[in-house]
């Protein structure tokens, strides 16, 4: 899990062009949107592309999207759960 979180942080920085960010600056439990990293609606869409492209996972509803994309940790948990099944 910790390895996956580290990897996700790096991928998020690249995918969202957060050039002034380093993985250690991202708190994996903090909300990604509004507070925390302050991401916006385009970033949310870009993160769903990332999950599909790198992990072959689709988010099916807006509700699910909100839960999965809450934080780096929730994204990692979503990947872990779905890759097992």
């Amino acid at each position: 899990m910790e390895q996956l979180i580290q990897k996700l942080k790096e991928e998020i920085i690249v995918a969202l062009n957060l050039s002034e960010m380093k993985p250690e600056n991202i708190d994996e439990k903090a909300p990604l949107f509004v507070d925390g990293l302050g991401l916006d609606s385009i970033d949310a869409l870009e993160l769903t592309v990332l999950l599909e492209k790198k992990y072959g996972l689709k988010i099916n509803t807006a509700e699910e999207g909100k839960k999965v994309l809450y934080s780096v940790r929730s994204m990692a948990e979503f990947i872990t759960v779905n890759n097992k099944s």
């Binding site: 062009n17 050039s19 002034e20 385009i42 970033d43 869409l45 870009e46 592309v49 492209k53």
Partner: protein, 197 residues
């Protein structure tokens, strides 16, 4: 090379736009993380206006809806269009990116400048073969004449791969006797444009 008010203020070393724009951002200690998310056309427009408003400080003189942004170029957003096309060229690796696609419209550069400087006024993006001072001057003059705007950011912001050039002006109604201020006339702005060549 960056020229502000007829003075050369920075010369980059890289011909690559990505490196050059990043070096300008760093050199002038600009702090605006959203910059890194922009496409090249928006970066070019953003940096041009950033250095312009830094030297003129007109942000507080006018209300947001009194300022207009009129830009022009010849390649529209083709530079980013090619980038988006690359993401859909292979059906087995088909991942169109929303953060690329949104920039496949040239006027998004106007949106980025508007967000940065809280500008709500007239915006228009024109595409013509070459920088056309006659057209841009007469269009902006009627905006002033009809009191649609009191201040205007206008210019030519062109990028097509590593061919790029940008000339941006800040236009205000002012006392004709003000020294050192150029008149907004086709001949004058053509001369300023030619200096870059």
């Amino acid at each position: 090379m960056v020229i502000v008010d007829n003075k050369s203020v920075y010369s980059g070393t890289s011909a690559d736009f990505g490196e050059f724009s990043a070096s300008i951002y760093k050199h002038f200690t600009i702090s605006y993380p959203k910059f890194h998310k922009m496409d090249n056309l928006s970066k070019l427009a953003f940096l041009s206006v950033e250095l312009l408003s830094g030297s003129k400080k007109s942000d507080h003189k006018y209300k947001g809806d009194e300022i207009g942004i009129i830009l022009m170029n010849s390649s529209s957003s083709l530079d980013t269009d090619r980038h988006h096309q690359d993401t859909i060229i292979d059906r087995s690796n088909y991942f169109p990116s929303p953060s690329v696609f949104v920039y496949t419209l040239p006027n998004v550069a106007i949106g980025e400048i508007s967000i940065r400087h809280k500008i709500f006024g007239e915006g228009n993006f024109f595409v013509m073969e070459k920088f056309n001072p006659q057209f841009i001057v007469s269009y902006i003059q009627q905006l002033f004449y009809n009191e649609i705007i009191k201040c205007c950011i206008a210019g030519w912001v062109e990028i097509d791969g590593n061919d790029y050039e940008s000339v941006v002006f800040l236009i205000e109604k002012t006392d004709r006797t003000d020294k050192g201020i150029a008149n907004f006339e086709p001949g004058t702005i053509q001369k300023i444009y030619n200096k870059m060549k």
